[in-house]
Symmetry: C2
Subunit: 145 residues, 2 copies
Protein backbone atom coordinates (compact mmCIF):
# COMPACT_ATOMS: atom_id res chain seq x y z
CA UNK A 1 0.00 0.00 0.00
CA UNK A 2 0.99 3.57 -0.46
CA UNK A 3 2.48 5.24 2.56
CA UNK A 4 2.94 8.51 0.75
CA UNK A 5 1.11 10.72 -1.67
CA UNK A 6 -1.31 13.55 -1.22
CA UNK A 7 -3.59 13.60 1.83
CA UNK A 8 -6.86 13.19 -0.02
CA UNK A 9 -10.30 11.73 0.47
CA UNK A 10 -10.25 10.30 -3.04
CA UNK A 11 -7.24 8.20 -2.06
CA UNK A 12 -8.93 7.29 1.22
CA UNK A 13 -12.12 6.29 -0.57
CA UNK A 14 -10.10 4.16 -3.00
CA UNK A 15 -8.50 2.48 0.00
CA UNK A 16 -11.96 1.17 0.86
CA UNK A 17 -13.59 0.52 -2.51
CA UNK A 18 -10.69 0.83 -4.94
CA UNK A 19 -9.53 -2.75 -5.12
CA UNK A 20 -10.46 -4.93 -8.04
CA UNK A 21 -13.93 -6.49 -7.69
CA UNK A 22 -14.98 -4.36 -4.71
CA UNK A 23 -17.10 -2.00 -6.73
CA UNK A 24 -18.56 -4.77 -8.86
CA UNK A 25 -19.55 -6.70 -5.75
CA UNK A 26 -21.18 -3.55 -4.43
CA UNK A 27 -22.97 -3.09 -7.74
CA UNK A 28 -24.56 -6.51 -7.36
CA UNK A 29 -25.59 -5.82 -3.78
CA UNK A 30 -27.15 -2.51 -4.80
CA UNK A 31 -28.94 -4.32 -7.62
CA UNK A 32 -30.46 -6.59 -5.00
CA UNK A 33 -28.21 -9.66 -5.21
CA UNK A 34 -27.25 -10.50 -1.67
CA UNK A 35 -25.94 -14.06 -1.82
CA UNK A 36 -22.31 -15.02 -2.14
CA UNK A 37 -22.81 -17.43 -5.02
CA UNK A 38 -24.88 -14.98 -7.04
CA UNK A 39 -22.41 -12.15 -6.49
CA UNK A 40 -19.56 -14.46 -7.49
CA UNK A 41 -21.36 -15.54 -10.65
CA UNK A 42 -22.55 -12.08 -11.69
CA UNK A 43 -19.22 -10.34 -11.18
CA UNK A 44 -16.96 -13.11 -12.47
CA UNK A 45 -14.62 -12.73 -9.49
CA UNK A 46 -12.94 -15.81 -8.08
CA UNK A 47 -14.51 -16.95 -4.85
CA UNK A 48 -11.50 -16.49 -2.60
CA UNK A 49 -10.89 -12.93 -3.75
CA UNK A 50 -14.58 -12.15 -3.48
CA UNK A 51 -14.66 -13.49 0.07
CA UNK A 52 -11.72 -11.25 0.96
CA UNK A 53 -13.31 -8.19 -0.68
CA UNK A 54 -16.66 -8.71 1.00
CA UNK A 55 -14.84 -9.07 4.30
CA UNK A 56 -13.06 -5.75 3.93
CA UNK A 57 -16.24 -4.03 2.72
CA UNK A 58 -17.97 -5.28 5.87
CA UNK A 59 -15.03 -4.24 8.07
CA UNK A 60 -15.05 -0.78 6.56
CA UNK A 61 -18.79 -0.35 7.03
CA UNK A 62 -19.92 -0.38 3.40
CA UNK A 63 -21.80 -3.66 3.66
CA UNK A 64 -23.26 -5.63 6.53
CA UNK A 65 -23.22 -9.43 6.75
CA UNK A 66 -26.57 -10.58 8.07
CA UNK A 67 -27.51 -14.12 8.99
CA UNK A 68 -30.79 -14.93 7.32
CA UNK A 69 -31.18 -18.49 8.56
CA UNK A 70 -29.78 -20.86 11.15
CA UNK A 71 -29.13 -24.50 10.52
CA UNK A 72 -27.26 -24.31 8.33
CA UNK A 73 -26.07 -20.76 9.01
CA UNK A 74 -26.40 -18.66 5.91
CA UNK A 75 -25.46 -15.04 5.41
CA UNK A 76 -26.40 -12.31 3.03
CA UNK A 77 -24.76 -8.98 2.32
CA UNK A 78 -26.79 -5.80 2.58
CA UNK A 79 -25.67 -2.24 1.98
CA UNK A 80 -25.19 0.12 4.90
CA UNK A 81 -25.86 3.83 4.68
CA UNK A 82 -22.28 4.31 3.42
CA UNK A 83 -22.92 1.66 0.78
CA UNK A 84 -26.14 3.26 -0.38
CA UNK A 85 -24.34 6.61 -0.55
CA UNK A 86 -22.16 5.13 -3.29
CA UNK A 87 -25.16 4.54 -5.54
CA UNK A 88 -25.04 7.98 -7.22
CA UNK A 89 -21.33 7.57 -7.82
CA UNK A 90 -21.84 4.18 -9.43
CA UNK A 91 -24.58 5.65 -11.62
CA UNK A 92 -22.20 8.43 -12.59
CA UNK A 93 -19.53 5.90 -13.43
CA UNK A 94 -22.07 3.96 -15.47
CA UNK A 95 -23.02 7.10 -17.35
CA UNK A 96 -19.35 7.82 -18.07
CA UNK A 97 -18.78 4.24 -19.21
CA UNK A 98 -21.85 4.37 -21.45
CA UNK A 99 -20.59 7.55 -23.05
CA UNK A 100 -16.85 6.98 -23.38
CA UNK A 101 -16.15 3.25 -23.12
CA UNK A 102 -19.05 0.96 -24.01
CA UNK A 103 -19.82 0.58 -27.71
CA UNK A 104 -23.44 1.03 -28.63
CA UNK A 105 -26.25 1.70 -26.17
CA UNK A 106 -25.70 1.16 -22.47
CA UNK A 107 -26.35 -2.43 -21.43
CA UNK A 108 -28.13 -1.28 -18.24
CA UNK A 109 -30.64 1.54 -18.30
CA UNK A 110 -32.65 3.28 -15.61
CA UNK A 111 -35.69 5.46 -15.70
CA UNK A 112 -36.29 8.25 -13.23
CA UNK A 113 -39.69 8.82 -11.60
CA UNK A 114 -40.12 11.87 -13.80
CA UNK A 115 -40.48 9.53 -16.76
CA UNK A 116 -37.19 10.31 -18.50
CA UNK A 117 -34.36 7.86 -19.01
CA UNK A 118 -31.86 8.53 -16.26
CA UNK A 119 -28.78 10.55 -17.19
CA UNK A 120 -27.46 11.69 -13.86
CA UNK A 121 -25.71 15.00 -13.45
CA UNK A 122 -23.63 16.38 -10.61
CA UNK A 123 -24.79 19.70 -9.18
CA UNK A 124 -23.83 21.96 -6.32
CA UNK A 125 -25.82 20.84 -3.27
CA UNK A 126 -26.45 24.45 -2.34
CA UNK A 127 -27.44 26.29 -5.54
CA UNK A 128 -28.14 23.22 -7.70
CA UNK A 129 -26.14 24.51 -10.64
CA UNK A 130 -24.10 21.91 -12.54
CA UNK A 131 -20.58 21.37 -11.26
CA UNK A 132 -18.54 22.38 -14.28
CA UNK A 133 -14.82 23.07 -14.51
CA UNK A 134 -14.37 26.79 -13.98
CA UNK A 135 -17.31 27.13 -11.62
CA UNK A 136 -15.38 25.89 -8.62
CA UNK A 137 -12.31 27.14 -6.83
CA UNK A 138 -9.97 25.39 -4.49
CA UNK A 139 -10.26 26.55 -0.88
CA UNK A 140 -7.75 24.12 0.58
CA UNK A 141 -5.60 21.42 -0.98
CA UNK A 142 -4.43 18.31 0.86
CA UNK A 143 -0.66 18.31 1.37
CA UNK A 144 1.68 15.72 -0.03
CA UNK A 145 3.17 13.73 2.81
Amino acid sequence: MAGAGRDCSIANALGVIGERWSLLALREVLLGERRFDQIAHNTGASRDILAARLRTLVERGVLARVQYQERPPRYEYVPTEAGRALRPIMLGLMEWGDRYVTDGPGPTRWEHDCGAELHPEMVCGHCHAPVLPGTTSLVRLGQVR
Copy 2:
Protein backbone atom coordinates in the same frame (compact mmCIF):
# COMPACT_ATOMS: atom_id res chain seq x y z
CA MET B 1 -8.60 -10.08 -16.48
CA ALA B 2 -12.23 -10.99 -16.22
CA GLY B 3 -13.70 -12.65 -19.26
CA ALA B 4 -17.06 -13.10 -17.60
CA GLY B 5 -19.46 -11.21 -15.40
CA ARG B 6 -22.32 -8.89 -16.14
CA ASP B 7 -22.29 -6.79 -19.29
CA CYS B 8 -22.05 -3.42 -17.62
CA SER B 9 -20.66 0.04 -18.22
CA ILE B 10 -19.42 0.22 -14.64
CA ALA B 11 -17.19 -2.78 -15.34
CA ASN B 12 -16.16 -1.25 -18.66
CA ALA B 13 -15.34 2.05 -16.98
CA LEU B 14 -13.28 0.26 -14.36
CA GLY B 15 -11.41 -1.47 -17.17
CA VAL B 16 -10.13 1.98 -18.15
CA ILE B 17 -9.70 3.82 -14.84
CA GLY B 18 -10.06 1.04 -12.27
CA GLU B 19 -6.45 0.01 -11.87
CA ARG B 20 -4.47 1.15 -8.90
CA TRP B 21 -2.99 4.65 -9.33
CA SER B 22 -5.00 5.47 -12.47
CA LEU B 23 -7.54 7.63 -10.69
CA LEU B 24 -4.92 9.28 -8.48
CA ALA B 25 -2.85 10.15 -11.55
CA LEU B 26 -5.96 11.61 -13.12
CA ARG B 27 -6.66 13.56 -9.93
CA GLU B 28 -3.27 15.23 -10.22
CA VAL B 29 -3.79 16.04 -13.89
CA LEU B 30 -7.19 17.55 -13.13
CA LEU B 31 -5.59 19.55 -10.31
CA GLY B 32 -3.23 20.98 -12.89
CA GLU B 33 -0.11 18.87 -12.38
CA ARG B 34 0.93 17.74 -15.81
CA ARG B 35 4.52 16.58 -15.38
CA PHE B 36 5.57 13.01 -14.83
CA ASP B 37 7.80 13.74 -11.86
CA GLN B 38 5.19 15.81 -10.08
CA ILE B 39 2.47 13.22 -10.65
CA ALA B 40 4.80 10.50 -9.37
CA HIS B 41 5.65 12.51 -6.28
CA ASN B 42 2.10 13.64 -5.48
CA THR B 43 0.51 10.22 -5.90
CA GLY B 44 3.29 8.11 -4.37
CA ALA B 45 3.14 5.62 -7.24
CA SER B 46 6.33 3.96 -8.40
CA ARG B 47 7.62 5.41 -11.61
CA ASP B 48 7.37 2.36 -13.81
CA ILE B 49 3.79 1.63 -12.75
CA LEU B 50 2.88 5.27 -13.23
CA ALA B 51 4.40 5.21 -16.72
CA ALA B 52 2.31 2.13 -17.53
CA ARG B 53 -0.89 3.69 -16.15
CA LEU B 54 -0.38 6.95 -17.99
CA ARG B 55 0.23 4.97 -21.16
CA THR B 56 -3.07 3.11 -20.87
CA LEU B 57 -4.95 6.30 -19.94
CA VAL B 58 -3.57 7.89 -23.10
CA GLU B 59 -4.39 4.82 -25.20
CA ARG B 60 -7.94 4.81 -23.89
CA GLY B 61 -8.47 8.49 -24.57
CA VAL B 62 -8.66 9.83 -21.02
CA LEU B 63 -5.41 11.77 -21.21
CA ALA B 64 -3.32 13.14 -24.04
CA ARG B 65 0.47 13.20 -24.05
CA VAL B 66 1.61 16.49 -25.46
CA GLN B 67 5.16 17.53 -26.22
CA TYR B 68 5.78 20.92 -24.64
CA GLN B 69 9.37 21.39 -25.73
CA GLU B 70 11.91 19.97 -28.14
CA ARG B 71 15.53 19.43 -27.28
CA PRO B 72 15.30 17.66 -25.00
CA PRO B 73 11.84 16.31 -25.82
CA ARG B 74 9.57 16.76 -22.84
CA TYR B 75 5.98 15.69 -22.50
CA GLU B 76 3.06 16.65 -20.33
CA TYR B 77 -0.27 14.99 -19.73
CA VAL B 78 -3.48 16.90 -20.30
CA PRO B 79 -7.04 15.70 -19.83
CA THR B 80 -9.22 14.99 -22.84
CA GLU B 81 -12.98 15.55 -22.85
CA ALA B 82 -13.43 12.05 -21.42
CA GLY B 83 -10.94 12.88 -18.69
CA ARG B 84 -12.70 16.13 -17.79
CA ALA B 85 -16.00 14.23 -17.70
CA LEU B 86 -14.61 12.26 -14.77
CA ARG B 87 -14.26 15.38 -12.64
CA PRO B 88 -17.77 15.24 -11.16
CA ILE B 89 -17.29 11.59 -10.32
CA MET B 90 -14.00 12.29 -8.57
CA LEU B 91 -15.66 15.10 -6.61
CA GLY B 92 -18.44 12.69 -5.66
CA LEU B 93 -15.88 10.16 -4.54
CA MET B 94 -14.12 12.86 -2.55
CA GLU B 95 -17.40 13.81 -0.89
CA TRP B 96 -18.04 10.15 -0.02
CA GLY B 97 -14.52 9.75 1.34
CA ASP B 98 -14.86 12.94 3.40
CA ARG B 99 -18.08 11.67 4.90
CA TYR B 100 -17.42 7.99 5.45
CA VAL B 101 -13.68 7.39 5.43
CA THR B 102 -11.52 10.39 6.29
CA ASP B 103 -11.35 11.36 9.95
CA GLY B 104 -11.96 15.00 10.66
CA PRO B 105 -12.56 17.66 8.01
CA GLY B 106 -11.82 16.93 4.38
CA PRO B 107 -8.19 17.67 3.49
CA THR B 108 -9.22 19.21 0.16
CA ARG B 109 -12.12 21.62 -0.08
CA TRP B 110 -13.77 23.43 -2.95
CA GLU B 111 -16.04 26.40 -3.15
CA HIS B 112 -18.71 26.77 -5.80
CA ASP B 113 -19.29 30.04 -7.65
CA CYS B 114 -22.48 30.51 -5.62
CA GLY B 115 -20.30 31.09 -2.55
CA ALA B 116 -21.08 27.90 -0.69
CA GLU B 117 -18.59 25.17 0.11
CA LEU B 118 -19.02 22.51 -2.54
CA HIS B 119 -20.99 19.44 -1.55
CA PRO B 120 -21.91 17.90 -4.87
CA GLU B 121 -25.15 16.02 -5.34
CA MET B 122 -26.32 13.75 -8.14
CA VAL B 123 -29.59 14.71 -9.81
CA CYS B 124 -31.65 13.53 -12.75
CA GLY B 125 -30.43 15.40 -15.82
CA HIS B 126 -34.01 15.87 -16.98
CA CYS B 127 -36.07 16.96 -13.94
CA HIS B 128 -33.12 17.88 -11.66
CA ALA B 129 -34.52 15.98 -8.68
CA PRO B 130 -31.96 14.14 -6.53
CA VAL B 131 -31.25 10.58 -7.58
CA LEU B 132 -32.38 8.68 -4.51
CA PRO B 133 -32.96 4.96 -4.13
CA GLY B 134 -36.62 4.36 -4.82
CA THR B 135 -36.92 7.16 -7.37
CA THR B 136 -35.46 5.11 -10.19
CA SER B 137 -36.53 1.92 -11.86
CA LEU B 138 -34.58 -0.48 -13.97
CA VAL B 139 -35.54 -0.42 -17.64
CA ARG B 140 -32.95 -2.90 -18.84
CA LEU B 141 -30.29 -4.89 -17.03
CA GLY B 142 -27.05 -6.04 -18.64
CA GLN B 143 -26.91 -9.81 -18.94
CA VAL B 144 -24.35 -12.00 -17.26
CA ARG B 145 -22.15 -13.59 -19.90
